[in-house]
Symmetry: D2
Subunit: 339 residues, 4 copies
Amino acid sequence: MTSSDVLDTSLNIQLVQSGKILLGDIDQILKVLKKQAKKYKYTPCIGRSHGIHAEPITFGLKLASFYEEFKRNRKRLVDAIAEISTCAISGAVGTFANISPNVEKHVAKKLGLKVEPISTQVIPRDRHAFYFSILGIIAGSVERVAIEIRHLQRTEVYEVQEFFSKDQKGSSAMPHKKNPILSENLTGLARMVRSAVIPALENIALWHERDISHSSVERNIGPDANITLDFALARLGNILDKMIVYPKKMIENLNITKGLIFSQEVMLELTKSGLSREQSYKIVQNYAKKCFAEDLNLFDVISNDKFIMAKISSKKLKAIFNYSSHFKNVDLIFRRVFK
Amino acid sequence: MTSSDVLDTSLNIQLVQSGKILLGDIDQILKVLKKQAKKYKYTPCIGRSHGIHAEPITFGLKLASFYEEFKRNRKRLVDAIAEISTCAISGAVGTFANISPNVEKHVAKKLGLKVEPISTQVIPRDRHAFYFSILGIIAGSVERVAIEIRHLQRTEVYEVQEFFSKDQKGSSAMPHKKNPILSENLTGLARMVRSAVIPALENIALWHERDISHSSVERNIGPDANITLDFALARLGNILDKMIVYPKKMIENLNITKGLIFSQEVMLELTKSGLSREQSYKIVQNYAKKCFAEDLNLFDVISNDKFIMAKISSKKLKAIFNYSSHFKNVDLIFRRVFK
Amino acid sequence: MTSSDVLDTSLNIQLVQSGKILLGDIDQILKVLKKQAKKYKYTPCIGRSHGIHAEPITFGLKLASFYEEFKRNRKRLVDAIAEISTCAISGAVGTFANISPNVEKHVAKKLGLKVEPISTQVIPRDRHAFYFSILGIIAGSVERVAIEIRHLQRTEVYEVQEFFSKDQKGSSAMPHKKNPILSENLTGLARMVRSAVIPALENIALWHERDISHSSVERNIGPDANITLDFALARLGNILDKMIVYPKKMIENLNITKGLIFSQEVMLELTKSGLSREQSYKIVQNYAKKCFAEDLNLFDVISNDKFIMAKISSKKLKAIFNYSSHFKNVDLIFRRVFK
Amino acid sequence: MTSSDVLDTSLNIQLVQSGKILLGDIDQILKVLKKQAKKYKYTPCIGRSHGIHAEPITFGLKLASFYEEFKRNRKRLVDAIAEISTCAISGAVGTFANISPNVEKHVAKKLGLKVEPISTQVIPRDRHAFYFSILGIIAGSVERVAIEIRHLQRTEVYEVQEFFSKDQKGSSAMPHKKNPILSENLTGLARMVRSAVIPALENIALWHERDISHSSVERNIGPDANITLDFALARLGNILDKMIVYPKKMIENLNITKGLIFSQEVMLELTKSGLSREQSYKIVQNYAKKCFAEDLNLFDVISNDKFIMAKISSKKLKAIFNYSSHFKNVDLIFRRVFK
């Protein structure tokens, strides 16, 4: 048995163990997200695209979307662990010239690993590249949630806040500030985990039956990327578990645009009445501009337009300017995600 | 003269020309930023750290900060162009075995390039790596400005808006929406330009007196990174030139926190009266929490605290709750930047 | 149905189609590798670690190792295609507010896609990040094979050569040169495909229910990474199919070190005779140094050492200095790989 | 003075100090390279492009090329240190609202830093991105030299060898092996240093007057990239200083192709006699192929061709098949580099 045989299989064992810790972290996140998604299943808040208010959603839907993403990440990580769950004890260049393949088989079984079907002096590095690529993707998901919290904690938005203990100081200079520093921290850590991906990909093309250039890379990214992601996931689970949610502020924000967010449905209703999509769009956009410019409420303005009211009943209009119609499929979506 | 001599010097000529186009783009941005910074030199808006309101600044200061950053980028780009302004006509392995060094000297002079002091079959690729790294940094600055605009155009913030022609449709589905799509586009393009940096760095370590692995990289990133950045810079200049600024909304946002943003100065003033920083911090933080929780105005609350008012004069307190004291050094900063 | 619904599902359809083309490329590579591996199953060549001769392998083993790696890549690509085989027609923020979920279901079925369980305005970008990460890994494998060929075609090694048509010019300046330019080209292209991974990971963290920063990235890397990898895989298949192999040169190279490559086995045999590993190592290393310094043949030197020959029979020694004992498990490995 | 003022300026001080250590490392490398380049100024070896023998160079030229590259790196690093030699003490959002600009000026002078002309809560991160980009470029140069040594130590090439102490074990399994493990290690470390560049570029686009996402990145790459590069540069200097050079093997390798490397000059000489380049190329390529196929010496073959010998004098032919004519400009190049 060569030292490469021992060291290389050891590395895989360590990565498998690290991967399992990360799996545990993800399970914790899934548990918290499920709890919170159900809690806020019907808590209305504005859905935003391009940072601009679009249409109502519920806060639970945001969380359910994260849940589904981490479910995918869990599956990817399981696959990644399987990828590096191999054992190679095949000698200096992988020929079993001085050692029986049965040793490899025996050791693999003892260690709960699969036999590497064909190795050089080392286990091929595309396996490790896959593992670290998955860490990079998971880090991207961590960043997605962290960015969301940072946005929702902005002073002007303030729908969500990272937990802030009674005795905790905020900004050292500014006593009034409660900063989403944990989520900001995660944003930076996501950059770090991602930065391990390219070196891992560069490690694949070893010379001939191995060169050892991969080793210094793995001695760095092995512990660093795993530990950083472990820390980040644990922190994220904690943030999600303890976050303070302000449903009242969510409603206030929903109303900021004074009904403009229902403009699409007015438009769609108009098209049903026989107007072309272009005509309907034009009519509604004009009123939307007017409301925005003069700080008017879209419902009031439209109620006073006889042309429109001849096409849309008063009852229908009221239904349009109501969140709840937007939530009729929330339960369906939740069943898809949490069943 | 070998084909490598010709092709390699040609590449440098193309990069120099591209670099000069980018310089022109930056000059245009500098011109626009200078104009806008001066226009909004004393337009008050909130300064934010961690996305949370901190203390007042002026919108002109934001723009001046971008101006200074693009000044640095200009200088970096001039250096980068100088780095690749070299000519090598030195034969198959750089020894001038079959061509006189005078040819190189002559051609370099004709082309306005410097003689490459020592080349292999090609010009060393650390020069090109420097050039593309600078493109990556400039792209980072483009992203910084783009992110700022996207933030300022958020529905809840709405202090700035990308230009939106009268006849332009907004969202195809939602007639009321005006999305900062140009700045979002720049955010993505910054990712693309940045992605050229690592391949350019990987190109440095050519084998022996050259291998041609760098070539397929350069045939891609040469045009792509330069053209993408040219497009992005031109677009950014245009956005900054035509952006719609809402000073009134900036004032409204400044007042959202009802005076909390002046808490630091109240605290500092208290320390001058003999209280420790810790005591002062505690007092002010408590009031800040109270105001936030009960939607009160910090000025009113503090005016009614006899303990504090015994330490801070009423006149002083009024001065503290006033933006203008924050702007006393704006002119100094502008002189530093625009002199 | 919003334009986002249409565009986003369209992107996935395009990626699925691209992925399937890549699958076809990989299948072609697998076919060629299988053919060549079997052809050269017992063609002896030196196994190298650290670029230094280690122990004999067969050229077929090299190719079998690539085969197994591309088998893994095939499976990863199948998974990646499944990841982006989803359809979302869920409206402006994913709530199905103005469209029935049945439309989504119907369209998904028609298109052979799965329903996206929960979407925002768009399909979540961790899916696309996974897809592009897999392209990056496959590119790493392309590079691995390309680097191997470049090494084997080095003048001093010359065991393999890229196909070179009778009428083809070599170097334009140097008529005698046959350069592995196709494999060098692949090395650079691998850098390009890899460079798409980070932007794809950066695309995950979209703001709220979507921002459009991902779009300019995908309009670039969507076609570029797929087409580049398609080209690279097709070229690689072609190189492997037509490569010229020089078994005679492989044997010559095996003998360059005059038996030094069998030193490990001499050492191991000595330990069986009762010597400690340290003693054995020392003895053999001394002879190895002597042979290297004085250009002697290790077999001759050892044959003349009475101390050693008292421990190793002459017959055994001859067996040690023979490649074939190294190949006793080649068939086992081939069965593992090709069964 | 806020804690941001203190921490941010402290970071710059640390980076400046790190940068100066790296400068010292580079100076050491320059010293060693100069010494070695002069020592091997006229030591002939083969120049290779595409890994294929091209034309003769001297080993000193290789080293001089590295010297010039590290001179460029030195200048870049000096610029990078200047970039982050700034001090900002400007308060919570950079307005000097509660602190006089004179404090900044005073502290900057004391610390030997420049005043940051305009800061937000922090010093703008394009400066740091520049610094880390330069580290990435230097790492690329380290890799270039490391790859060269690894190539030159290949068993088939063996022109150069990393120092190997008398008592040092080689491979643990294979007593005869002397592996270029230090240079392989550097290849991996280069990947690590490079991996800091993208996070540093991603750090530029902080939100508004700062978010703290950059901090966790800098706490990692600050020490890691600097220390890794310091270690790598020190190791590289040591390798270059102590490397064992085999001029005899260089001559042997030069002769491997039996004169084929002079084919270009034969071709050029033929064109001077009135033949077209195409004709000359064809004639020489045919002979080159014949020599390669039948293991003949190009000089002999051409000497026997009456058609050629009617155009090239015997004296001229001898001059062509001689290294020294290739070295006539070595001194000129050395003067360019070392003057």
